[in-house]
Symmetry: D2
Subunit: 180 residues, 4 copies
């Protein structure tokens, strides 16, 4: 059994909708237990519990929201004791070019700081739409392609957890030409 | 007279098209002399000459292209002698979420390394479309909004050059509500 | 008269000491008015007031502290109305390799988000010691070189404000060989 | 058997020395096969071959060297087919504050682009010396602490390869208090 935490902050509800899709994508991989937690209800125990984590924040002034940062700044008791988890990021911005990739980067840097192994996804999920450094969105995800992106992120997270934590090498994503 | 260099690398011609729009935007500010140079024809003299620079690269593996990096790595003779120029960035990627913001960041970091003052643009140029860290695009710019983004970047570059190099404070962009 | 704000958060007092040195460096340039403000006493008015700003934070989990981020996330009323100020960054980490450059980067990204022009310093202030992306330190600044770094940052900030805001081109830093 | 590639570019030989220490650290974990390759002799086959990779570059103008970037830009045939490898970074700069962390970041971003899982190391290897985003150095590693940093990076890379590729969970690093 792999354990996945989807942790998010959301103000306009766009990031909340993305988070739900990430969780849905993760749950589609067999044997995964998924917790979906908003920043106000997340606890240190959730972080200690999980094998893999997807962290999402609105794009606020080029970085993750202060509330999300406050959560991580507060985990000094766990720091140095939970290395090796698998992590990824997602973010919604007011517009394209508004910093959603940079927010994913700020999240990945914090996860790296905790000793986690972080990743992005090479797959394109639609025309001119990918998630190389995490799932990004301007506003909320409306089209099929926009919804496929966070679902793919959650699925890939669950796949890496299955392969690398549980040794289920049969669940590894194949080379790109065989991923659909 | 302000001097603007628009320096770009391009493989698919998308970044070349964006570069031309940046140059057009810069030239629209009175008193600007603009040079548009592809990476193969750019020289150290162009860099020494300019007051302001916009640097564009395709999004290759999350960073600027190796040819663009080679140009900057080769400017060791100028390094430390040309501080204080004004710089900005632009990039085209294969898709949204593909790293175009990160490439702008890699360019800005290199410009900061040279002692330049770098900026992005707060303005939205259309619905859910901005250029906070430089002008970004998936593929080539087709719509009016997509073309407005690099033009705005070039214009803002020229405005900052006018204000801060030439003391033309009357050319400063006003607060956002008065920018059109 | 140029107006300089040195804004900092500090937990261990290391960043506070660096901030005081930045302020000292800025005040050494003629005609500068300098405000030194801890995060708990800083107000939106300070941000609106200044021509140039140096922002410092301890290195917390690879990014600026949540309290510093909270300050910037709270400036939505000013956002889009104060473009064109000049900004720079400083940070103290627990150790070298611990993320102080990345925290400077996270600060610069936020300042860029506000439309500011940001810079680093090409100068070396001692053997193997520079501040290309802002003044960085492991712990507090003790040696002469370690103290020279934030002072140089403050001085350079004041120089750029003098040159670019006040048109005092005589105060521009010369090429590196003539900087002492 | 885990397969580790240590890939580096070096101009002043500092990064070469760090690379040798990374390789030494990796080889100390049982069952690891290690290849140490300079950028001029590295081939696509090396990249396809490895389970884990450490990539090192001198700090050139805030990013990895153009020759290192050229190598990665040239791997378009492998891109999308080698996801899931484990990666990390190292860099030597002319001075502290000179960008070595940012170069590690530029390397990590490129490795993430390829679908790799990247990591840093939480451990402190000496007083005020760590490698949270990769092993960094000003100049060449001389002191015991400075040499411990790249060795720890190589060891951790080999440990993650052992645990996550080979299922050797007994080789996982324990919580920080038990790491020496």
């Amino acid at each position: 059994m792999g354990k996945i935490l989807v942790l998010f902050d959301s103000q306009s509800q766009s990031t909340r909708k993305i988070a739900a899709l990430v969780a849905q994508g993760a749950a589609a991989v067999e044997g995964m237990e998924v917790r979906l937690k908003g920043i106000d209800e997340a606890r240190s125990e959730d972080l200690a519990w999980c094998d893999g984590i997807a962290v999402g924040s609105p794009t606020h002034m080029g970085g993750m929201s202060w509330k999300m940062k406050q959560f991580w700044d507060g985990q000094t008791d766990l720091w140095g004791k939970i290395d090796g988890k698998i992590g990824c990021a997602f973010s919604s911005s007011g517009g394209w070019g508004g910093g959603n990739e940079l927010v994913c980067l700020s999240i990945l840097i914090t996860l790296i700081n905790f000793g986690f192994l972080v990743f992005g996804v090479t797959d394109y999920v639609g025309k001119q739409f990918t998630l190389h450094y995490g799932a990004v969105q301007a506003g909320e995800p409306r089209t099929e392609t926009e919804q496929a992106s966070p679902m793919r992120l959650g699925k890939r997270l669950a796949q890496w957890v299955a392969v690398q934590v549980d040794g289920r090498k049969d669940l590894a994503p194949g080379p790109m030409e065989s991923r659909a």
